[in-house]
Symmetry: C2
Subunit: 209 residues, 2 copies
Amino acid sequence: MSTHAAPTPTENGKTPRTERGRKTLRKLLDAAALEFGEHGFHDASITGITRRAGTALGSFYTYFDSKDEIFRALVKDLSNGVREAVKARHDPDGPALEQEREALTAFLQFAREHKEIYRIIDESEFVDPASFRAHYQNTANRMFERLQSGVAKGELREGLEEAHAWAIMGMNVFLGLRYAVWSDEEKAEAIAEVANGVLRHGIAKEKGI
Amino acid sequence: MSTHAAPTPTENGKTPRTERGRKTLRKLLDAAALEFGEHGFHDASITGITRRAGTALGSFYTYFDSKDEIFRALVKDLSNGVREAVKARHDPDGPALEQEREALTAFLQFAREHKEIYRIIDESEFVDPASFRAHYQNTANRMFERLQSGVAKGELREGLEEAHAWAIMGMNVFLGLRYAVWSDEEKAEAIAEVANGVLRHGIAKEKGI
């Protein structure tokens, strides 16, 4: 079910050197997403992860020392998964507002395919606060860079600040919670258009109409 | 430290009938906010709450049967606290966009005075998912009602949907996380203006300038 194939290297340099190793690590991370997503950190178990992954317990310890360590690796992996999904739809030469539309559409689709992402990122606030903070700060930084590039190209308003990136990220995260995780009946494109309309012209009625 | 004086009635009709009872309940809920905020649900204890509140253990059981029950009551109380803080600054005859600016300013100030609110609402996703969902759905509903009233008055664009309320709520929640909880150096009014600018005119550069 994974849509982001290359696993994020784990801590302590335990990066797989073979294609088979990479596949095993990918399986473990995908299984961890399901296990933590279903049971939460405290009730999730390493044997639950290896059972879902169909790997031996020894394979787990080849890459991770503990449940904490795979959880941290998983948060980073999901965070990278979002980044890669956005990057795959990203056209750096496209209009700035279209870039934001594509980024949100990619995020909504990623969240629909990995509904456990919310539970895992949200639980990281308690299990691993540094990863939680890094995920949102990195995402906001990437968005702020896109906004600054849109300002430089003369497409976006002067004076956009980091707070604008946080505001737009918040829109995206809550639209994902409501329209990717709680319900996914509406088209991702329609939801992305709601956010894009706000960015394009706000919600105030046009003057003189 | 509480800014929302009237405690939310607890479950099972255990509403205090006297002013003294109301004060005790208020003290217990404020103490619970600090205890859960500092230790999280699992490590928080009833005796930790009554010690902070300076009340006898018996007073706790006058109003609550368990740690779960006071946690649920606390999420509802904080949710109502946000609603009341927004209501206190709300001018139903004011321009629609000013209403949103005031709502966000009130929320940011409430979050700065109750920094534990994020941790508690976020933890409710795991401890008490129904309260988590109710908090955001109720907040989105109130915001959507304000938006619809702005459309009816001809101030906001036709066709605003529930998704617009979720988008704006997400902006507000993430601005609060970054600029009320993680850091509160910037003025609440300046942060509210960032969001209000987005609602007023989006982030695209004006045409023909």
